[in-house]
């Protein structure tokens, strides 16, 4: 209807009818095309590694849990589907005694992964996690924790953090000087 | 007062050593700026020095010849200031070690061009510290960047100290 004003109404109507005809012809031609659809259970399309689906908790290269229960993922989660409790391990590491993600609520936005300072929480391409019982979608730490480092195999937060854990004493971490000797007057 | 710097060096201090040429001097201890060659004949009194943008300081004159790396000299001075800071205010306590690190990197061939701007900005900001220690301490660095910037650039470009042949 937005054609030029100088055109006569008849030309306009004809143009409109032509446009309509082209539309109908297009859809009509589609009838005889082979559908594009990939039929899901028979054919599973390989997903890129960075697809956002099921969330995992990874481990650092030494096998320790990466999650330090800093609450950043739960803070950033727009649907509040992550909850946890932090506590201290015997070696001084901060960890989560329990960690829960309600996948019934999760919208797989990946903000938790972005917020995670230790590369612990990561999203994986595995999206097939449909359950009959909605409570079965509430994943506990046991269900989330995996035995590998996910996308980032090397990172170990405690090598940078500078706190005393089994990873190292003060001054033994990456880019750290030996602790200052406060009893010495030497320069 | 009023004695010319050249006179002090050549007459009272017995002149430069053999083969040594005057390159710069610290006119009054570690917390004064380098006096480059153009001030060789300056009169050593408060008024003249102030006019030239310098300070007389404590009167302990240190002379550097052309074979001396002034970056290394400044690094040495900054090392001293970093150690002597009392630790009360942030610019002095953290600024000097930071500048020491940057100078060390420049001297040891790890310098980057942006270090120069960081250094000059920090020099300006260290004037806002609690006492007069930091403004004094940045004087050598400020003058290094003012008069001998080429030398600093040479360090960065060659990725080593040009005075160190090894």
């Amino acid at each position: 209807m937005n054609t030029d004003k100088n055109e006569s109404p008849m030309t306009q109507i004809l143009a409109d009818l032509k446009a309509l005809a082209i539309g109908f012809a297009t859809t009509f031609k589609h009838l005889f095309q082979k559908p594009f659809t990939e039929e899901y259970p028979e054919y599973k399309r390989p997903l890129p590694a960075r697809s956002r689906a099921r969330i995992i908790l990874t481990r650092d290269p030494d096998g320790g849990e990466r999650c330090v229960a800093c609450y950043l993922c739960s803070a950033v989660c727009p649907v509040s589907c992550i909850s946890m409790q932090s506590a201290e391990q015997a070696d001084g590491r901060r960890y989560a005694p329990w960690f829960r993600i309600n996948f019934g609520r999760c919208i797989y936005c990946g903000l938790c992964e972005e917020a995670c300072p230790t590369a612990a929480i990561q999203l994986t391409p595995d999206f097939e996690m449909c359950k009959q019982d909605i409570l079965a979608l509430v994943y506990e730490k046991e269900d989330l924790l995996v035995d590998h480092g996910g996308k980032d195999k090397q990172y170990n937060f405690y090598q940078y953090a500078g706190v005393v854990t089994d990873v190292g004493e003060k001054g033994t971490h990456i880019k750290e000087e030996k602790p200052v000797n406060i009893r010495s007057n030497l320069p | 007062m009023g004695v010319r710097l050249s006179e002090i060096i050549e007459v009272h201090a017995g002149g430069m050593r053999d083969g040594a040429e005057f390159k710069a001097c610290l006119p009054g201890g570690a917390s004064t700026a380098f006096l480059p060659g153009e001030f060789y004949d300056i009169e050593m009194d408060f008024e003249t020095m102030r006019k030239a943008g310098h300070r007389l300081g404590t009167g302990a004159i240190m002379v550097f010849d052309q074979k001396t790396c002034l970056v290394a000299a400044t690094l040495n001075l900054t090392e001293f200031f970093a150690r002597e800071s009392c630790g009360w205010c942030t610019p002095c306590r953290e600024g000097f070690p930071y500048m020491r690190d940057l100078l060390w990197r420049i001297e040891h061939g790890q310098g980057q061009e942006e270090f120069i701007s960081i250094l000059s900005q920090m020099c300006r900001h260290l004037w806002n510290s609690y006492c007069a220690f930091a403004p004094g301490g940045v004087a050598p660095i400020e003058s290094l960047l003012a008069y001998f910037e080429d030398e600093v650039h040479a360090h960065i470009e060659k990725k080593k100290c040009p005075f160190n042949d090894k």
Binding site: K141, V180 | G87, C89, Y130
Partner: protein, 840 residues
């Protein structure tokens, strides 16, 4: 009134206001690390730099160091200042560890905020980071020195502000270290404030370590009820559990700080042992059944033996609502009570304190800081009301002199005078001091009844002689001072002293001085109890009547006689004789075992309520959470249950006032809504004093002060104020008094597992002369025998106390309740040295 312009906005400020505060009044928050309103400005961090465009100062200057002056034009957004501040943040972050995720300060960290706000996101520094070893600073404060940004707040608070010396700065330059010379528990009972004032995570809260983040906490304004000062706090709740308590700024009461007893004294609320279900004879039943049973039984006893056969005991730790509901119940049913006081002495002391605290004499804790002379009588602030120490310290820092008249070994973190006399002699000394101080003109101008009191003061030269010089000096100081505060305790003092202190204060006021009167009371709401317990008997009397069979039913409302009654065998015996013992409490008190009917009640965190502190200030605590089992206990520390419930588990308990009103009503159908408003309306009606009580939504944060003055009737002062004659001093007799300690004696805070670790081992204090006489040396174990029992305890010998006195803490881990009374006399042969392993 200097008028200045900050960021194009004009503002008038009080002379002496710093530019940083002037900006804050305009809503411009200039970054700061070292500046703290309580600690003052020192210009160490340099992050509050702004640019002064016009006026007496020019260029980039620290806004915390410069007083606002007329004609100043200040820009906080000037490029140079912003760039400098950016550099300051960069410098501070050079060595800051990469541990925000595991740092408890994360989420309320000033450094974090400023770093993000200043836009510093990438570390340009390529060198190695400086590290420090951390120290163990005791069970309350966690130390992580790597995070330090050298703002000096901690050492300034610890040494300058509070006066303790064991934590401070070591080293110079970039090696500056904040800590103790040797690792060890911090000596100050105010160490928790380090956590609040540290702008980053060097000092973090150990009991709440790794529990949660600030943004997950529900934070509610509350009150501390661990002593009578009623400091303002804010509690953090998470998963149905109070996890942390911090100081809340209060202009009138505690300022910015609170003591450790208050800070960590809240753990009783989520104790695992806390009773949460109603019981009849030890069996859990429903709340309704319990109420019904109690009501029927009480009515039956009331009918059979008259209403006087029922007695009720209230508590000084209950809210005003509970106290009022109990009064209303007793009035309606004609029961005896509510009883609040252990014995006549305590009753007299507290009631006198409440009555004497006239409006013109009452001062707040913060007013004490303004005094130039402080005379403390029978008060031991560190142990009785710790925050008073900080107030005294501020006064002392400003040049005030502090003098203590007390038998106990007073320990304060600053210099003061201490006249150590036996409790009996205190009144005489005070009277003497009074006589020495007041000038003749004032005496002549006295009203006849006041003159009579003055004339009744005898000459006690024999008693005074040993302290003559000190007393004269004190009297002289008092005469010279202008702003005095008399602090008076109510615990170890004899019945005449609170009144004498008030009399002293009145006379000093007549001398033209600005005088304040500051009482310490035995509980958070003792003032309220004093106002609401008109003619009730003491607890001792009630026990007599139970023994005589006159009282058959006893209602204990949030009151645990086992905690304070000094004759435990008798108490046990007498409580057995009752036909009905009804106990309401939120603590796991011993009486629950004896109770026929038990009703669980709510803490102030769950029920909220009003509390009247020792200066007559009504303050409000808000409801922090709904109660019920903490999730961590409910799930055994594992993940929380996955199923839903309609009701919060363990939430059967009701506020005590609710239970009391349900008892008062004849049928069970008492609504849950509106009961509190009813009680308050009743309170206002029956006690006109409370008519000033503002509505909940308009309640001022600092509360309102009600000072009855002489409005409520107590026995006339003139009849009472006679100086007691000193009991004949026998060299063989020792006076034994029981006292409070900062940690270990107070009912609520001793239930905190963390403060448990702070408790010292109970010991008896003894003057070195007495010890020498008895051949006892430091650390020996002695058995002190009284008429009713024996207490075996280690000895601490000191010169810093009155001779002839034994001082025993009412420590929860000590069976001091076998002594028979809180003040008794024992002869020296009743003190016997025993071997360590010998049972007593």
């Amino acid at each position: 009134m200097p008028k200045l312009i900050i960021d194009n906005q004009e503002i008038d400020v009080q002379p002496g206001t710093k530019v940083i505060d002037a900006a804050e009044q305009l809503g411009i928050m200039i970054p700061r690390f070292c500046y703290h309103p309580a600690l003052g400005s020192v210009g160490a961090c340099r992050v509050c730099a702004v640019k002064f465009l016009q006026g007496p100062f020019k260029g980039v200057q620290m806004s915390c160091m410069i007083d606002a002056k007329d004609g100043m034009v200040v820009s906080t957004t000037d490029e140079e200042a912003v760039d400098f501040r950016k550099y300051v943040i960069e410098w501070l972050m050079l060595h800051h560890p990469h541990d925000c995720p595991v740092c408890d300060e994360g989420g309320h960290c000033l450094l974090q905020d400023m770093t993000v706000a200043g836009g510093h996101g990438l570390r340009r520094y390529q060198g190695k980071k400086r590290t420090h070893h951390d120290q163990h600073l005791g069970p309350l404060v966690q130390h992580e020195m790597n995070r330090c940004i050298q703002c000096y707040r901690c050492s300034r608070f610890y040494q300058k502000f509070s006066g303790y010396r064991d934590l401070g700065v070591l080293q110079i330059g970039e090696r500056v270290y904040f800590g103790r010379y040797q690792a060890g528990t911090l000596e100050s009972p105010f160490s928790g404030n380090l956590i609040d004032i540290c702008p980053t995570g060097v000092y973090t809260d150990k009991p709440s370590r790794f529990i949660g983040r600030r943004w997950d906490y529900e934070r509610t304004p509350s009150l501390c009820i661990n002593c009578s000062l009623g400091c303002h706090t804010v509690v953090s709740t998470r998963y149905r559990e109070i996890v942390r308590q911090e100081a809340r700024f209060s202009e009138a009461v505690n300022g910015h700080f609170i003591c450790d007893r208050g800070r960590y004294g809240f753990f009783y609320a989520s104790q695992e042992k806390r009773p949460r279900y109603a019981q009849i004879n030890g069996n859990e039943v429903s709340w309704e059944k319990s109420i019904q049973t109690a009501r029927d039984q009480l009515n039956r006893i009331s009918q059979e033996s008259g209403p006087g056969a029922v007695a009720s005991v209230g508590s000084v730790r209950s809210s005003l609502e509970t106290q009022a509901a109990l009064s209303r119940l007793c009035q309606k049913k004609g029961w005896q009570g509510p009883v609040y006081w252990i014995d006549h002495g305590q009753e007299m002391n507290v009631k006198t304190a409440a009555a004497e605290l006239a409006d013109e004499l009452a001062v707040s804790l913060r007013d004490v800081e303004q005094a130039d002379y402080i005379l403390a009588v029978g008060a031991d602030p560190v142990n009785e009301a710790p925050m008073l120490v900080l107030a005294l310290r501020q006064a002392q820092r400003m040049g005030a002199k502090v003098c203590f008249l007390d038998p106990r070994p007073i320990g304060l973190p600053f210099s003061f005078q201490h006249i150590s006399v036996a409790p009996q002699a205190m009144d005489l000394i005070l009277a003497h001091l009074l006589k020495e101080t007041i000038d003749q003109d004032t005496i002549k101008g006295l009203e006849p009844h006041e003159k009579k009191i003055f004339d009744a003061i005898p000459n006690n030269s024999h008693l005074v002689s040993s302290n003559q010089k000190l007393l004269n000096a004190v009297a002289n100081d008092i005469r010279l001072s202008q702003r005095l505060v008399i602090v008076c305790g109510t615990d170890v003092v004899s019945e005449t002293i609170p009144e004498r202190a008030a009399y002293f204060a009145r006379l000093l006021a007549k001398m033209g001085k600005q005088v304040g009167l500051f009482y310490l009371l035995p509980g958070a709401n003792a003032f309220g109890a004093a106002l609401l317990s008109d003619d009730a008997p003491t607890f001792g009397r009630i026990l007599d009547e139970i023994e005589a069979g006159l009282v058959r039913a006893l209602v204990l409302v949030e009151n645990d006689p086992y905690g304070y009654y000094p004759d435990r065998p008798r108490l046990e015996r007498v409580l057995q004789q009752l036909d009905l013992l009804l106990v309401m409490d939120y603590l796991d008190v011993r009486t629950i075992q004896d109770a026929d009917v038990f009703l669980p009640t709510l803490t102030l965190y769950e029920a909220g309520g009003f509390f009247v502190n020792q200066e007559g200030r009504i303050q409000k605590a808000s409801i922090a959470y709904q109660g019920g089992h903490p999730i961590s206990q409910f799930s055994n520390g594992n993940h929380p249950p996955r199923s839903f419930r309609n009701q919060i588990p363990g939430k059967e308990a009701q506020p005590a006032w609710q239970a009391l009103i349900e008892l008062a009503n004849e049928n069970s159908a008492t609504p849950k809504q509106g009961v509190r408003a009813d009680i308050l309306a009743w309170l206002v009606k029956t006690h006109p004093l409370f008519s000033k009580l503002p509505p909940d939504n308009a309640f001022p944060s600092d509360g309102i002060r009600i000072n009855p003055g002489k409005d409520i009737h107590f026995r006339s002062a003139a009849d009472r104020l006679v100086v007691p004659t000193l009991a004949s001093e026998s060299a063989d007799q020792m006076e034994l008094i029981t006292v409070d300690w900062t940690f270990g004696t107070e009912e609520l805070s001793t239930r905190s597992p963390h403060l448990r670790k702070m408790e010292s081992k109970p010991c008896v204090f003894m003057h070195s002369n007495d010890a020498a006489q008895l051949d006892i040396s430091e650390g020996d174990k002695v058995a002190v025998r009284s008429d009713t029992g024996i207490v075996s305890i280690h000895v601490t010998i000191t010169d810093n106390m009155a001779p002839g006195v034994l001082i025993i803490p009412r420590h929860q881990r000590l069976d001091w309740q076998h002594l028979g009374a809180s003040k008794i006399t024992v002869s020296k042969d009743q003190i016997r040295k025993i071997r360590e392993e010998e049972p007593c």
